[in-house]
Amino acid sequence: MAVQPGSVTTRLRVLDDGAWISVDDHREVRVSELWRLDAPDFCGCDLADLVVENFQEVGVDGSRVEVRVYGQCIECGASGITGWLPVGRVRADEFVEFDRSCVRRERRE
């Protein structure tokens, strides 16, 4: 998909069976990380401790790049697909990944 965060067109894709997120044909975000999530719809943990197994979708909200992920909370064992989670920002044609150790808050509809 090609999206326009601000005035710059950015190509965002989920590729290789959901192994990674491509931003402008560069591999930027990958599976096998542990993310702390504020995602009460995903599981009952105060903060889910999610193993990122597959990317399902990628999109933008303003300049913020967001993904939906298949994964498992290693605290409680719940597995499934998350809501939209922020992974980084596109600024001046450059993608900057958010610090992986920070809590990621699921977008509330």
């Binding site: 998909m1 190509r11 894709r13 590729l15 290789d16 069976d17 959901g18 192994a19 990674w20 491509s22 402008d24 044909d25 560069h26 591999r27 990958r30 599976v31 096998s32 990380e33 542990l34 401790d49 193993v51 197994e53 597959n54 399902q56 498992q72 290693i74 064992g77």
Partner: protein, 582 residues
Amino acid sequence: MPTDVENWKSEVYGNEIRDHLFEFAERGFDSIPDDERDAWFERFKWWGLYHQRNGQEGYFMMRIGTPNGVLEPGQLRVVGEIADEYARGPGTNPIFGDAYADFTTRQSIQLHWIELSDVPAIFEKLEANGLSTQQACGDSWRNIVGNPVAGKDGQEVIDAWPVIRELNETFKGDDDHSNLPRKWKVSVTGSADGSGQGDINDLAFEPAYKEVEDEDVVGFNVRVGGGLARNEPRFARDIDVWVPPERVPDVAGGLSALFRDNGDREDRYNARIKFLVDEWGPEEVCETLQAEYVDFELETAGRDVREEYTYNTGEGERNDLVGVHDQKDGTNFVGLNVLVGRMGAADVLDLADLADEYGSGEVRLSQRQNVIVTDVPDDALDEFLAEPLLEHYSPDPSPFMRGSVACTGTEFCSLSIVETKNRQVRFARWLKGNVELPEGVEEFHIHLSGCTASCAQPQIADVSLRGMKTRKDGEPVEALDVGLGGGLGDDPGFARWVTQRVPADEIPGAIASLIDSFAGEREEGESFRAFVARHDDEELDAFVDPEETDYEDPMMHNTKRTWYPYAEEDGLDDAPPVPADD
């Protein structure tokens, strides 16, 4: 809306990719336009090239499709020479060295660290020797699998090799079938042992008898929609069709076209034909095949031989093809264990010499990542078995060596969550040295897959291990989910995932405790699979008692955050540059 991949495929796909590939190889890796890299890397797969994971930019995995795992005389040497010359990169594997070939669970061969500039020379050498990478990956007919000793096996019902060869010649490079919604995996088996593993393929032809004009004719029953990937395992469904050998290409082509026209091109996660079979049911698949894709009357299913299946069943005879076995012509085939399917290039070349010296020079690959030397006469057998190379690639290995299967893992793969091949070697060595199976248990299959893509076929093993993460002392570590009791056969079953997120360094202890419980509570003569079947998940979870032992695992950190897990300076910042185009 079609996906990006579908859009790229509609622009350039299939045979025509080759000219572009060669042009990029000639002009250099950097000649691939920055904004077209995703598209070209996706397309290159059709010609068997898979861009390795991040940190290894500009290096490719190359898959050579060897139909039914058959390597004709001389071909193994060609593979060894190519591995030795071209499959060398900046990373050295501490167990396997610098150049090696991987034998896969679909009877293909994978080489790593291939540079784009070397592709034309490699293709030239492969093709001059009857080998090809065409359609080894990508959305089309993949390497056709079956019983690797088709045509030679003393247990054979029908020789499937001519059928497989015809399918390969017909559908490799056929523009009508080159762009499917997703991969298309076909198995054709003629033996009564089930070693073609048809149940886990998109399309399976299995031996069956049918009465035609008062005569019992041998042909194939047809099953559709099997596969293990993505937490959605399915066994292929019986569509109630029998086909004589000469009609197999018509039915296979009809089903491939049915998939081409009806598979989901808007959601790649829903694209495999197993989901179409879920949606339609086997009856509708059969009715549509009859009405729209073949121009003759289909026969209903014949009498199969599934009750005789032994391969990967977890009990009975011949769960694999390792060891010495009779051929129809009075000679022997000798299955050699290749631990996790990986063989150093020098060993590949030595084995090619031995195959020439003691057999016909032919070698075949099994779906358990092993290699088979065929056509060894009785009077050469003892001398062959005494060859030093067979001490390492043994025809009579420890059950833990024999039963080990592992995928590529984070060493090269984008999708994997954990390190696999070297870890499985360490597991097997530790188990061999520390654990004894109960009397009479000769085989014990442990399959390690780095993720849910299931390339190591974990769901059909005695012990299934699947990549995960957990925290240990608060720190993230590589872990594995543990499943038990899977297997094929007349009544196939997937492993039940009974214990989750075991830190990888506690797995050997967990398996030791499990085998201890099996030995203690086993009924007389009971197989491990039967033992698992009569216990519930909670009981089984209690048998799996993870604990640290003297087993040491050097890869507990996030191996995906390295450019290469075994490098001294392994950080992504230390990644080598894209290789120079010379």
